[in-house]
Amino acid sequence: MGMFLLTRAFYSVITLWLLVSIVFGLVRLTGDPVKMKAEAGADEAYMQQLRRDWGLDQPVYRQYTSFLGNLVRGDFGHSFTKSLAVRTIYFDRLPNSLKLGLAAFAISMLLGVPLGMLSALKPNTWLDSFGKMFALLGLSMPGFFIGLVLVIIFGVELGWLPVLGKGQSAFVWREPFTWVAFWFQDWQYLAMPAFALGWYFSGAMLRITRSSMLEVIGSDYIKLMRLKGIPEWVVMAKHALKNSLIPILTLAGLNLLVMINVAVVVEVVFNWPGVGQLLYDALVNRDFPMVQGVVLMSGLLIVVLNFVIDVLYAYTDPRIRLSR
């Protein structure tokens, strides 16, 4: 197993390095970021000074190496438009995204997994058709469309739910008393964006649950379990679930990360001040250090998660755990 993990770790590092390089290259392709800071009447001297401040007067390879060096030290640079360290802004926004992401994740799991299991247990019934349609619709409707429809119905027509941002509660790192309260306040703001985001992912969860459950249920050992006369719920809860859990959890983990880090469209539609909106703002404002920072953080988390999944996989599956 050691060898297996070592290879995976090595691959993860290579993947990260490639990701960093791709993002760095793409961002350099967009031209001189200093020009984005200038406005009508700004003189060349001012821009030269900015260029020096941000180290953009260096040759590209020097910029690249110092960029890598800074990343290793956890320094993502300074935002152009928000003037603070990218890291600071990212972590200020992260709790908002976590709140939305976790709520949407809960919705996607609570809807997707049980419905998927039911569909798998009763294939080709009306329940299965309903599940299929629910999943397909979720996967086929763009997030902003679901969002707008929700806003029309619950925000404008019925006036039940606010459509404006995340409410007053905020998570402030400097003030520990907000650390707990934040999660329990302003749920009315959370409801629509969480559902709009959750539906798409519950569709994906439903499908993967259904297909991996079907695969397991169709297997000989589940058949034998039944022939042994073990209560059905034991068969399902103990054997079928444990065996189909790996693909479900893998997808769930990835979904969670995507929901937290890059729920761009839904956060924009609902003015949710999370990481996704931060990324969108940064992109349309050509705030490239910020873009780099957010994209790399999400990439980093995904690579780390993939690695963790490999490790967990190795541990849960005795076939890998007990090999060398």
Binding site: K223, L227, K228, G229, I230, H239, R319
Partner: protein, 327 residues
């Protein structure tokens, strides 16, 4: 006293999603089984053998429905039992061994877990006694050093060992009947033999009845007391094993016997002409007529009835072979 197991006119149909396509997988199957007896169920793949077996304990794939008939276990109707009651039959009174030893054990649980389950649920054994029972069972199926091996996982076992463990699982609930669904198909020949001997020994010591599903007539000859031959969802012939081999009455049985390789013979093997029928599109009349050397005009249009020849022998043919001597 009623026989241990009596299956009467059992019919199982598969239907497509909207009930559009009906496949008659099992169509009017009847047989009976006494305690300690071994019944062989023979036929090509797709002839409905496995479906029949699974229908007895009502474990059917989605889409399959039992549309008629009855299954009596010591006079009790199994088809009318509630799901809860039928579960108490499975493993406890009728155990099943299925085809593939490589995939019929859950890879994520230890051997102990899986062998213990039937004893836990059906015999209510707990703690030390459960442990003891599992050790006994594993010893009985000749697993070396069971106390060590039962802590291991399926992938650490050889194929033969896994199949013996499946046998142990079948024994664990102390059943009256064991249905063995082609238990040796995927094993090497030598291991096959060992395994069959083991099963025979177990049967002798516990007096359990066996339903032995196979397409290998050699195994039938060795293991069974009587044989039912299935073709396209129907039992076309049923006889005690000796009679079947010497006086087959149905042309299909005859053809099967002819296609067995014989020791020392240099003649080319006989092959049954044509393809096994597509269960979704069975020919009208006798299902076997397109491949039958003796087919009559009648065989094309009318289906033969089951003809009882006494002593539990039956045949389904318009023109049963008369005392045809088997070479």
């Amino acid at each position: 006293m009623p026989p241990l197991l009596q299956v009467q006119d059992l019919k199982i149909y598969y239907s497509g999603f909207r009930g559009t396509r009906v496949v008659k997988a099992v169509d009017g199957v009847s047989f009976s089984l006494e305690a300690g007896e071994t019944l062989g169920l023979v036929g090509e793949s797709g002839s409905g053998k496995s479906t029949t077996c699974h229908a007895i304990v009502r474990v059917l794939p989605p889409g399959a429905r039992i549309v008629g008939g009855s299954v009596l276990l010591e006079g009790e109707e199994l088809l009318e039992k509630s799901p809860r009651e039928i579960r108490a039959v499975r493993g406890r009174r009728i155990a099943t061994i299925i085809q593939d030893p490589m995939s019929s054990l859950d890879p994520l649980f230890t051997i102990y877990d899986q062998v213990a389950e039937p004893a836990y649920y059906h015999r209510a054994l707990r703690g030390r006694r459960l442990l003891q029972r599992v050790q006994e069972l594993l010893t009985a199926v000749r697993i070396p050093s069971p106390e060590v091996r039962m802590r291991e996982f399926p992938h650490q076992m050889s194929g033969g060992m896994r199949q013996r463990i499946v046998g142990a699982i079948a024994q664990a609930g102390g059943p009256q009947i064991i249905i063995a669904d082609e238990p040796t198909t995927n094993l090497d020949v030598t291991i096959q033999l060992q395994y069959l001997n083991l099963l025979k020994d177990l049967q002798r010591s516990s007096g359990v009845a066996l339903i032995f599903v196979t397409h290998n007539l050699g195994i039938v000859a060795k293991m069974c007391d009587k044989v039912a031959v299935m073709y396209a969802g129907k039992i076309v012939e049923q006889q005690p094993v000796r009679d079947l081999f010497y006086t087959p009455r149905h042309p299909y049985t005859r053809a099967l016997l002819d296609s067995m390789p014989k020791l020392g013979s240099k003649e080319p093997l006989y092959a049954i002409p044509g393809q096994p029928p597509d269960p979704a599109a069975l020919p009208p009349g006798c299902s076997f007529h397109p491949r039958c050397a003796h087919a009559l005009e009648r065989c094309w249009t009318e289906e033969p009835c089951e003809e009882h020849l006494g002593d539990g022998r039956t045949v389904r043919c318009w023109l049963p072979l008369q005392e045809a001597k088997h070479a």
